[in-house]
Amino acid sequence: MRKIIEILLPILIVFSYLKVLSFSGVTSILMIRRWSMAKPLSIVFINDFIDCLAIAFIALTISILLAYGCRKYPSFLLILASAISIIFLASSLYFCSALTSLFVSLFSTIYAASLKKEISLSHLAKYLSSLLLLIEAVGVIGWLLYLLHGGINPYMEPLPLQDLETKIIYSFSPLTPVLATLFMLSIPLFIIVKPLRPIEGSRPAELLNRFKAFTKNAVSNLSRHSEKYGAWSRIFLFSALIIPALATFLLYTPTVNPSNMVIGVDILYYVDFLRDLQGSSQNGLEFLYKVFSSDRSLTLLIIYSISRLFAIDFRLASIYLPAILSPFLILSLYYLTLNLFRNKLCASLACFLAATGPFTTASFYGGFLANWLGLSLTYLSLNIMMKSIEQYSMKTLLLSILLSILSHLAHPVPWSFLMAAITLTALLVTAQRNTGRGILKFLAAFIAVNILYDFIKTRILKFTGATVVAESIVSTELSFANLVNFWPINVFMAYFHVGGAFNFPPTYIFALLGMAVFSIARFLKFDILRMWVLAGLPLYLLGPDYVQARTLQNIPIDIFASGGLVMVLEYLSLKDKILSALLLIFIYLLYLNNLLRFIVNLPF
């Protein structure tokens, strides 16, 4: 009987939630064939009456089984609520019926699992995650069938198979702006709540101390457990390397892109710029001079070199460039995260979240080739700089500076973020007087050489570069009017900008948890990443939608998310090993669905 309740409860929770969503008329913004459109999140399985009847019947069954096991008045109250749900149904009040069933499911869970211990919470979690995993798997199958079907009508609704998964995820989309903002504000928030320490010996103080102790212990154990999920690490890393490269080619197949349109808004600018440059240059030297006077010279040079090397035009070289850029970013992110956590699963997870999450989807939509390359070089540079501090090696620091200059040449924005993060870290190190002066020397040398390079490029040679771009953004784009209208701008950014690529709540949930982990386990390495987020805060609060989006794009949010996710996995593995395996499969399918949903709907 316990088992029946444990199996029925997750079904009731999920399906009554879906029907409540359906009847409440909740709308979300979905990108379907490149157009962002408002769609009601309604789901009908057979018809509204039968759907609600099935849910009410499950609610009644659970209530009776609970009352049979424990003859206390709350159990009979649950039977009464289930009966009311059926009465609502008979009166055609479908919304009230589904809502009552949802209440029954939630109250039954609290009552049976937490208060009466009638059912096991871990078993319930196992069945609930299995059900969600099944929905995710059906979603992936739906997209694969959609891709293999061929000759699809581009304005057709998504097939019901993936509809269920899509609508569950989008029902949480109002949380995206709130969670992303909370993540960006987390460092000032930690400072604000610091005086509100719970009273020693109280329950909240005990819980907080336990959480802190668990986090510190888990972070210090991460390096020892590096091989714990060896197979999983390989799967996540391999998928992160392969999937975006495959997606690049998938974008130009006749099934996904029947009109063979160029995907990636900025790609046209790169192509146009290079064509103009080639047409207006008398010789190779002049061409090179003009390329280096731009702010994305390395990216332009790579597109030019590839097109010359393979005798293809700039357009073709640019549209397939993500197949090279994405694995490069993944490798640099992998080594940076591995250096931070000394844990292969954490590093692989960060890569997978970046490869299938908002970063990659936004980059595909926008064709942010230079940003892709710039961020990869920035991550590499930061990783080597951390190593130079550890090894106290000036030679390694030189390599790191060289890579940061290359990132400056690739794109000015990631370089500016890195500089701001390192400068803030240097200030933090100065404020914490117990930290060694050697670290400060390395940080100062790194900043000084980079600033000198930018000064020569922008002020002496009068080329465009990071500080010129930053100056122009600060003077023309940031304003207090944007702060006053923050939410409409931010919500617009989440729902509409780059096709709503940033509208994916799981990343921000895990990133928030990761930020808590980074703040509790205080290491210099973690502080650099925290300062990176802090550097983005003024842009996020005072900027228009595209500046907010670029901020989210250029902070290592996936490293934070993987840190948070690994903490959840560590916690679950202590309770139940199967649960942690289920979570890993769930994450894999959830993110894969996100990428497939976006890629399939990217072209007209």
Partner: protein, 148 residues
């Protein structure tokens, strides 16, 4: 019980204010239809010159011009979408709007050949600012000749 200090009172006030502000954000996000699709709507007019007739398999160009009352915004793009008959038959191309507001988009109807001699097509031109539609659009119905 310990009394609350200034720091704690300030902290409680700030936490409450931020919580209220985030709740307001959630309410804005929960009502997506209240968000304007293009916050900085352009004060511009779009005029497009269409060909009188188009021929299947033959490349053609559409030229157009944006006339703005204020300064011409940078980084605008014109996107042309040609849909003939059912939606299987479509072609899209995008071009950059020049600083003087002019643009020219070329399209080549190279989708699967229709079985009729002529077919009605809808040609839509959208002006896009970076990654977001500006709301500026123009549309015309054309006849496409299908050579035998």
């Amino acid at each position: 019980m310990d009394s609350l200090g200034f720091k704690q009172i300030l902290s409680i006030m700030l936490v409450n204010l931020i919580a209220l502000w985030l709740t307001y954000g959630y309410l804005v996000a929960a009502n997506p239809l209240t968000i304007k699709e293009a916050p900085g709507k352009l004060n511009c007019k779009l005029s497009v010159d269409y060909p009188d007739m188009i021929v299947y398999g033959v490349k053609f160009g559409i030229s157009g011009r944006l006339i703005c009352e204020d300064k011409m915004p940078h980084q605008l793009m014109a996107q042309a979408l040609l849909v003939c008959g059912d939606v299987h038959m479509l072609t899209v191309n995008t071009t950059i709007v020049r600083d003087d507001g002019t643009f020219k988009v070329y399209l080549e109807p190279s989708f699967p050949k229709p079985h009729t001699n002529n077919i009605q097509c809808g040609l839509t031109v959208h002006v896009i600012s970076k990654t977001v539609s500006t709301g500026l659009m123009d549309k015309k119905t054309l006849t496409m000749i299908v050579p035998s």
